[in-house]
Symmetry: C2
Subunit: 210 residues, 2 copies
């Protein structure tokens, strides 16, 4: 069997991108529970079979979409771990906040966790979606975990710091507020969180405390 020669990006990749862009638009316009997967195919101008072959359910499509949104958040490594964590976590928090209530004009009163909550529920209900979600986070979290490893290796974090436990504390606080308590996760909160989590390193907090 011969593989056909390809020039540029494969056609399937282009279709994937059109599908994900269409899904993102529908999500922002209406919210997750207010559009059908068929509408995504129509808007992306791909055959339904193409879409279903790639992502068998709306939940699978959601995982791919969230992965794409995550990949757009860069993980800086300037050598200043406090600053790098603040920048990264602020970007994560901004992304999470945007996903709180896409497509709903609630005047800021709806504090529901929206899309991320749907993702969490889908992961709990369908083992294969769960595997996909956990795989996505494992792949993505490898970047900030490596950032913390490097900071520990150069002595910017105590020797006995577990990168995983520290990252759980930081990312966990954001998701806990998003999904459970509904408390805000703005830039001020992220600064306070990073300062407190890193306070034991003995460096001066970046933000002034009152």
């Amino acid at each position: 069997m011969t593989t056909p020669a390809r020039r540029g990006r494969p056609r399937s990749e282009e279709a994937d991108e059109r599908i994900l862009r269409a899904a993102h638009e529908l999500l922002v316009e209406r919210g997750y529970d207010k559009f059908a997967i068929d509408e995504v195919a129509t808007r992306a101008a791909v055959a339904k079979t193409t879409l279903y072959r790639r992502w068998p359910t709306k939940d699978h499509l959601l995982v791919a979409l969230v992965a794409k949104i995550q990949d757009e958040v860069s993980v800086p490594d300037t050598g200043d771990i406090r600053r790098d964590l603040s920048v990264y976590l602020t970007a994560v928090a901004t992304g999470l906040d945007r996903m709180r209530h896409p497509g709903r004009d609630t005047g800021g009163t709806d504090r529901s966790a929206g899309v991320v909550a749907e993702l969490v529920a889908a992961a709990a209900r369908h083992p294969d979606v769960g595997d996909a979600v956990r795989g996505m986070f494992a792949r993505r979290n490898a970047l900030p975990l490596a950032l913390l490893d490097r900071a520990r290796e150069r002595g910017a974090l105590p020797d006995d710091t577990s990168s995983e436990v520290l990252f759980d504390q930081l990312a966990g606080a954001l998701y806990y507020r998003l999904l459970i308590t509904g408390a805000p996760i703005g830039a001020d909160y992220v600064e306070e969180l990073v300062d407190q989590a890193l306070a034991r390193t003995g460096t001066t907090p970046r933000s002034e405390r009152t």
Copy 2:
């Protein structure tokens, strides 16, 4: 108007308890998506109208059930903040772990977040369920937050510790692993988490590190 005299516990409270016990049994036996609210009424031997008047949907009933489970976890205050946090968070983690997959015999391979994920999704979908969930956590979390306040006041935590941020880091790490990464939240993990979060207080970790 006169209020009728009451002896002992009001009848409605007894009915509530029977309803919640029946719901808990069905949840453990089958899992959240595998029973109907009418079955709860039948098993609890109450009229459906009684149940629906109290909790209009299965999601509302779930909030009440989780609140009851939370209330069974005590918040010790022995004066040793590290120990008190370990005991409390281990109990929370055990409760969360038990809710991962009630009613499913998955041989320990299913790492889905089960009931808590359903609660999170219901809170995101229905504003009144969301308010009930956030109110439940606000009421419940007041206890560990007061524990941290008292520890700070007696000098067991640094003066500038925010109880809320520290609690977000601790509870957040557990929920993040439960809902997002699927990583285990056993007693060993809780010890490591508490040790690392409190390390800046300068007290010796309770657990030996390898």
